[in-house]
């Protein structure tokens, strides 16, 4: 999948992943890869500015965790984040429905 197709949707993807359970960056990348069947495979560093932005906007919270002997920053979605995700999902579904309707195979297909 081309990275530019993920532009603008990364925050929604991260919020979605966090609804399952809190997680640190590496775990979230692995979950994204796994849930998407390997289709979403972006440069792993790109999630950190997005995560910091989500926290700055008050949609997630984070704390340091020293589980398993390694220091990691664990993120969790909060109520505002869930509400924002609900809105983004509706927008995404509307968008994909509209695009699919336009590009569906039919008389225009070559």
């Amino acid at each position: 999948m081309k990275p530019e197709m993920l532009k603008g949707n990364l925050r929604m993807l991260l919020l979605s992943v966090l609804t399952d359970a809190p997680g640190h960056g590496y775990a979230m990348i692995e979950r994204l890869r796994c849930l998407s069947g390997g289709e979403i495979d972006l440069p792993e560093g790109t999630i950190y500015p997005a995560l910091h932005g989500l926290e700055r906007d008050g949609l997630v919270s984070s704390r340091w965790s020293d589980d398993s002997g390694r220091r990691r920053r664990v993120y969790a979605v909060n109520r505002r984040g869930l509400a924002s995700l609900r809105v983004q999902r509706i927008e995404w579904q509307t968008f994909t429905r509209a695009v699919s309707a336009v590009i569906k195979e039919g008389a225009w297909a070559t």
């Binding site: 640190h24 960056g25 590496y26 440069p43 792993e44 560093g45 790109t46 950190y48 500015p49 910091h52 932005g53 390694r70 220091r71 990691r72 920053r73």
Partner: protein, 263 residues
Amino acid sequence: MGDLIDRYLIELGADLHVRRNQRERIVAEVAGHLQDSARALETEGVAVPQAERAAIGRFGPAAELADRFNRSSLWVALAGIQGYLVTYAGVGLVTIGGAGIFGWSLAKVFGRDFISGNVPGEVIAPSRCADYLRFHPEAATCNAAAVAHHFDEFVGYHLDALALGVIVLGARWLWRRRDRRVHGRYEGASARPAYVLLALASFGLAALLMLPVAAGTLATGTAFAGSRGGWWLACGVASSAAFLAYAVAAWRYHPANGLTPAD
């Protein structure tokens, strides 16, 4: 932690231009991520150096990650705004200097009186007369000495401003050349339109005010705020030139014209 990851983290820390606690947090998060990624590869049988190299490869270049963080950094934006204000001050000083050069040229054609003639009806005290004649013994009269003195002041102060403006702009150019990665790439780009608007508004307003005053005082042979028409004309023309220069730059580098300013 291996050497490769250590080097990556050092490079990342050097490229980040954010508050210190934010930089420390970002570097610590990235360190944890890279270690997790490398260890996962090692459990699959990949040798340590190759695992670190692969983990870094999948993570992405440090400079690109730092760039993303720096774009949203208030610190970088403030540094950029500060830079623009220094440039604005430098251009202002050079414009004042330009007015002095233009005024000197006008005086060559129309005489010094055109620039620094005495205000009609002004009476010069004898003590001031003595001072003027001491500065300009070649002058035939007290009035002529006063005009010469005021003209020298006009040109002198304006050329001082020009020299200072050149120093300010030169220092600014050297600073940006020295640290292009902060002051060039990230120079609070979002503040650029506001800077150009400020320059256009201030120089445009100055020209709009000064040129009519120049026209009025030249037509009536009077002075305004103690200055003759030639002075107002020189300053108004210099302000107009600065306004036009910014207008041309704004037009050329408007996104619709497909050009970007050379940083």
